[in-house]
């Protein structure tokens, strides 16, 4: 799938903005997409730089990924 890819960089957010306070801590990543380009997305499980990840779903305009 074009929406799958590899983790380019990531962080685990502990201090969240007001609207996402209930989600913290959550992992955010920039993913290098197989189809070209990058996306900033949320991880459903923990992943490191270089790991392959797959697109799971989109909720309120945010893409969610997990490791393969």
């Amino acid at each position: 799938m074009d929406r799958d890819g590899v983790i380019y960089t990531e962080t685990i957010v502990h201090a969240a903005p007001e609207q996402y306070a209930a989600d913290a801590p959550y992992q955010l990543a920039i993913i290098e997409l197989d189809g070209g380009g990058r996306i900033t997305a949320r991880m459903l499980n923990r992943a490191q730089i270089g790991e392959r990840v797959t697109f799971v779903e989109e909720r309120v305009g945010v893409a969610y990924y997990r490791t393969l």
Binding site: E10, H14, A15, A16, E18
Partner: protein
Amino acid sequence: MRSVAVVGIGKTPFGALTGRDLRSLAVEAVENALHDATVAPEQVEAFYLGNFAGPSFVGQNHLAPYVGMAAGFEGIPCTRVEDACASSGSAFFHAWQSVAAGIYDVVVAAGVEKMTSQPTPRVAEILAGAGDMSGEGRAGATFPALFAMIARRHMHQYGTTREQLAAVAVKNHANGAKNPLAHMRKVITIEQALAGKPVAEPLTVYDCSLISDGAAAVVIVPLEQAARYRSRCAKVLAVVQTSDHVALDRKADITLFPAVKAAGEKAYKIAGLSPKQIDLAELHDCFTIAEIVASEDLGFAAKGQGGPLAASGATSICGSIPINTSGGLKAKGHPVGATGVGQICDVVMQLRGDAGERQVPKHTIGLAQNLGGSGATCVVTILEAA
């Protein structure tokens, strides 16, 4: 184009200034700068005010005449400039253009932010608006998160360590402890910095700049008229503003800031200088990693060597390239709209030899670098003692 000089500097303390409103802070900084320059408000011909988010932080818009009229600038053009955390660097750039072009002779550039009246999660949300809210912002990227992702990638590509990040915090806290106007006048140890509460991994609270209130202002005039106002001033050798994508995921290599590299290279060329000829610099350390990256982008270290440079002690007050002798955004504080002009005030203070305990021995040429967002705006200013 005419040469331009900074003939007056003025600041308020930076900090959680309970009981002070945005306007009173901005007016205090402007009055201090006018007094320093021996200029009366009636002589000022234009006013540029940097402010990032007054409407969100304090519910006030139309800020430039709101501050300008209170400072005694009746009837002149008063303009607010917003370029995220580079708002007042940008205000300075526009003020400089108007004097260099010969349109005005006496211009004030200032910056102000009143942040501490909002709770921290709300501050994080307002600051996130300096990123791309249609992508990274919606996904939950705070500014610490964006710079944490820069740090992770820098560590991955160049082997930068947590200890090297902590060295920036330790040095800037040591400098801030000597600055009477700094928000945080507290020395910290490397152990404390490493054990800080995580904000966005690998960054802890000690890697993040402070949420502060404060204001800063400068008075600029044509260099040929500077002697009318002051015996010691600072000549503007170059001021360059550049831009780049707002979204971090649009940048090809996030371990550097193309806007900083471009602004630095152009400023060095205009000034006829190399990085080795800079005696001191105020760099935009909104996060410890940002100082490391900027030190590489501006040629103080080779690519990937900003971490070792910070850990070597070369960037301390008595080092070969003192960086952030004011304490930087980390310890001096980061009232975002005030930061760019605040950095220029700190460089001018060093060039005049007025930095007291923080004074660097060699202080002929200084550089200030102000960054907006995760690198979408940059202003680099090079100043020379005159």
